[in-house]
Structures are given as C-alpha cells and as structure tokens.
C-alpha cells in the first residue's frame, strides 16, 4: 500500500510539471463545461420565438422525451450530446498522464533502477494506473458537477431532470472510470512501442473513437442514446478493460521492459 502511494505521488510530482499534461487536465474540462453552458445561454432566450414551442416532439426523438414539448426536447437532445462529450475526458486525460509518465520513464532510463526494487509488477501498474485515473475521474466529476450546477439555473426543472437522469449518472460515475482504465491500458501498451510521449498520447486517445462514433450516431439520429445503450457501453468497456489490462500487464514485466521495449 505504501509503495503504491509512493508511486502515485511520484507520478503526480513529475507529470504535473509538464505543461502539456497540465493543460489537458486543467483546461480541457473547462472547455467541456463552457461549450454546453454557452449553448444553453444562447438558446434560453429563444424559447418564446419558436412558434411550435408547445407542439409535441416529432418522431425524430423517438421516446427520448415524450412528456416534453418539441423545443424542450431539442434542448434535452443537445444536452445529451454534450454530456456524452464529457465522457471523452476520462479517456483523454489518463491517456495523456500515462503516456507522459511511461514514455518519460523510458527515455530517462529510470525504469531499470525502479524495477530493481522489490516492488511487484501489480503494485507498479496499480500505482501508475491510479495516478492517471484519479485526476481524470476527479476532473470529469468536478466538471460534470459544475456543469449540472450551472445548468440548474438555466433550464426548467423538467429538462434538468433529464440532465441528471440515471443513465447519465451511470455514464459519468461508472462508465467514466471504466473508460479511464481502458485508456491507461492502451497507453501502457502503446508506450512500450514508441519513444515520443505525444505520439503515445494521441494513439492511446484512439480509444475515444467508439465514443465519437456514438456521438456522431446520436447527432445524425442514427442511434438514440438511452439507458440501454449506456448500460451496454458499460458492459463492453468493462470487458475490454479486463482484456486490455491483461495484455498491458503482460508487456509490463521486468524482462519485457528491459529487453523488448523499444
């Protein structure tokens, strides 16, 4: 336990001295908060001007929000896209932290003395993974919290209920950390092959692609994100976590690191 803590604190002390990482962890969430709030502020004044404000939502929305007017439902629909975008945070942030931390250690050749200590691979991987996941999850939750709090002042109670619907809480609080773990596993595997942290970061962030596809699907009306989709997503990501972590731990063995990593 003491060793895991030491690794986590060491990672933070090192990696947050890097401007690129700091930017990703601090500013990206701000951008993701700003986007929906600006949109909300812009559309809030338009409500009265839309003639069909009280007409029921058309079939495009399916059973997304049967109890709302078309206008409100459009707003819910947009907010859903933004909330889905929040899910990118727990992928991009840990990919960035883990890539810089692992490629950094690799190029500084600090892994060999580290591996010479009686730390177990499980402790080392846990430490490195938590060091990447904790800030990512914290930033995501904090950003989501701020967004929800601000939105409370900007939308009607009925719309707000959709914002904090169980499916989004599941997404942010359960699927988010699972996604973060997936990004870490990807970052470990990719970091073992490349020697530029930026390349590792970008490649690991490819994990975000399915999420982007979901986003596009939602935007063009191909898929409608609902509780079922989120639950399936959770199950698939959890399964991928197990598989990818297994592979990541396999490349993170002393012998492999010292003799096979490039």
């Amino acid at each position: 336990m003491e060793k895991i803590k030491t690794i986590i604190l060491k990672e933070w002390a090192e990696v947050f001295k890097n401007k690129m990482v700091l930017f990703t962890v601090a500013f990206l969430p701000l951008i993701f908060i700003a986007m929906p709030l600006v949109t909300l502020a812009a559309t809030a004044n338009m409500g009265g001007e839309i003639s069909s404000a009280d007409s029921p939502p058309d079939e495009f929305f399916g059973d997304l929000c049967v109890d709302l007017s078309e206008y409100d439902c459009t707003q819910v629909y947009m907010l859903n896209i933004y909330t889905l975008m929040f899910m990118m945070l727990p992928v991009i942030i840990p990919a960035s932290i883990a890539s810089y931390s692992i490629v950094g250690e690799k190029t500084a050749r600090s892994l060999e003395p580290l591996l010479a200590t009686p730390i177990t691979i499980a402790e080392l991987v846990t430490g490195k993974a938590l060091a990447a996941i904790i800030p990512a999850v914290a930033a995501t939750w904090l950003a989501f919290g701020i967004y929800v709090a601000a939105a409370w002042f900007m939308v009607t109670e009925r719309i707000f209920a959709y914002l904090v619907a169980p499916m989004w809480l599941t997404a942010v609080f359960i699927v988010g950390p699972l996604l973060a773990l997936m990004a870490v596993a990807a970052a470990i595997m990719i970091s073992s092959r490349v020697s530029d942290p930026r390349v590792a970061e970008q490649l690991s962030a490819i994990v975000v692609l399915p999420l982007v596809m979901l986003l596009i699907g939602q935007s063009v009306g191909f898929i409608l994100i609902d509780q079922r989709v989120i639950l399936w997503m959770g199950v698939i990501v959890a399964a991928l976590d197990v598989g990818l972590m297994y592979l990541a731990v396999k490349v993170f063995q002393r012998e492999t690191i010292l003799t096979r990593w490039k």
Binding site: E2, T6, E14, A108, R109, L111, P113, T117, P118, L258
Partner: protein, 301 residues
C-alpha cells in the same frame, strides 16, 4: 555470496552470456572486465533478478534466482549503467521514493546519511536534473545503498566521469569494501580494477580467466627486471642467457629485459656479473605489466 553455474542468456539469435560459472566470496571486490557487448550488463541483470537466464542457475546470498527474486531484490543494491534519476524531482525526493520502495525503516535518516556521505546534502532540494554528471552518479550511488545491501552491483561506476569525480567514486568504493560488503564491479577501466579488486574476471560472452590482478600478471609474463645501460644492451645478452635462473632475455636499445622468478634473490648477482663484463648500469627496475596488457591479450584471442 554469489554462485553461478552455467549461467546463460540468449536474446533471439545473440548469445550474450555463455555458461558462466563463478563463485564470489563474502567481502570480496570482484571486477568484471570485458569489452562493449561482452554481456556484463546482461550478467548483472540476471544476478539482480531483473531478467531471467535462458539456462543455468545462480544463487545470490543463498537465494535462488528465478525462485526467490523478491528476496534478492530486497537484499542487493544495483547501480545501473545509466543513473535514471527523476530529473524533475529533488535529490531528497528521489532518494525518499527509493527508500520507501526498498522498505527502509528510517527513510529520512537513511536518506540524510547517504546524502551527507556523498557530499550532496547542501544540494538536496535541487532537482536532480540540475546536477552535473558526477553528482548524478553520486546520487545514484546513494540510491544503491539506502537499504544497506550486503551485495552491491556497480555497472561501470566511473564511466564518463572526470578524473577527480572518478577518484571520489573509487575512494568511496574502497570505503564500502572496508565495511565488508561484497562488491561486483563491471568496468572497462583496467587501472580501476587493478587498484580496487581482489579478483578480476576477463569476460567476453564466455569467462576467459579469473584471478587476482597480481596472479594474472605473473601467470602471463612471469616477473621481469629491466636494466638501463649507458651503452647498447645487445652485447650483454649472451652473457645473461648463460645464467641458469634467467628464463628469457630481450635486448632493446639500451635496455636489457630479463625474465626470472625471484629477482630479489638473483638481481645482486646479475648486477655483479654485468659490471664485471663492463656494463655501465644507470637504472634497475621491475617491469610491471599493466592489467591492460593482460586484458588485451585475453580478449583478442
């Protein structure tokens, strides 16, 4: 303390270490000499449980590599080929991290002890990245010792250091030897091996020879005495050849080089004979072969 038997490591096609059999005693300073790519680092990595041998076995402090890896890691110290410090962190932080990972009980006390011992105490709050090469090496040595290992592996401890820093490191190694620790040093620096080591191994994929530096010299060249004369030495060669205790005679310019086993006993006699034959002797001295000569001969065959 260290015992290997047919220790072998193969990387795909490359045979890096071939059936190394060795025994190193407690308190011994053992020099592991070999050219680039000889397999020195590979050997150290196997003996510190960083990589597994392809064949053969070894025990370190009685622990079996492969089976008691954690015990080995706990009990040995290793100075890796490159220091691998966390450059953005302070010297103090670097060492406390390692002290914790090595399960040291009094972390701060140990860190302080070695920072002071290596003369880095004043700079403890500075980032390791701001240190000179010599200071980084000293910091890395401190890191090697935090958990008071009985066996220490040093992979080229003075490589790339200026003579002054190298001397500091060597003196420190001598101090460690005084504390009764077993020290395994990989080096290209033959002078260093000569001065520090009780025994040296010349190694190039296979073990070529192991012995004390003195014994190696004697084994290869016997002992040689050189007589500097005021005139050409050639004229005295045949006279020297007739002396029964002389094994070999070489006359080069004004120098007469004689190989014999006990110069202490025979030199006075030789001098008398040379003088009688009319030689004007200017200097007499023992010709000492450097370990380098021995090394080059062994590595190049």
């Amino acid at each position: 303390m260290i015992k290997t038997e047919n220790l072998t490591k193969k990387f795909d096609e490359t045979l890096a270490v071939d059936r190394l059999t060795l025994e190193i005693d407690e308190g011994e300073v053992f020099g592991f000499l070999g050219p680039n790519g000889a397999g020195k680092t590979t050997t150290v990595r196997m003996l510190t449980s960083l990589i597994a041998p392809s064949a053969g076995t070894a025990t370190v402090m009685g622990y079996q590599i492969g089976a008691d890896d954690q015990q080995i890691r706990r009990n040995v110290g290793i100075l890796t080929e490159t220091p691998g410090m966390y450059d953005r962190l302070s010297a103090w932080r670097n060492l406390t991290i390692y002290a914790t990972l090595y399960e040291v009980e009094n972390v701060e006390q140990q860190v302080e002890k070695y920072l002071k011992m290596l003369g880095l105490w004043e700079r403890r709050h500075d980032a390791a990245g701001t240190f000179s090469k010599g200071m980084r090496q000293k910091l890395a040595i401190a890191r090697t010792l935090l958990h008071e290992p009985k066996i220490i592996f040093l992979d080229e401890p003075t490589a790339g250091l200026d003579p002054e820093a190298a001397k500091l490191v060597r003196d420190f190694i001598a101090e460690l030897k005084g504390e009764g620790r077993t020290i395994f040093i990989c080096t290209h620096n033959l002078d260093e091996a000569d001065r520090l080591c009780d025994r040296v191994a010349v190694f190039k994929t296979r073990l070529r020879v192991v012995d004390s530096p003195q014994a190696l010299r004697k084994q290869l060249y016997g002992r040689q005495v050189v007589f500097h004369l005021a005139e050409a030495a050639e004229g005295y060669a045949s006279m020297a050849e007739n002396l029964p205790f002389i094994k070999r005679v070489q006359a080069v310019g004004n120098k007469l080089v004689l190989s014999l086993e006990e110069p202490e006993q025979h030199n006075p006699d030789i001098i008398r004979q040379l003088v009688r034959a009319g030689a004007n002797i200017q200097f007499v001295g023992e010709l000492r072969h450097s370990l380098e000569d021995i090394y080059l001969q062994l590595v190049n065959d």
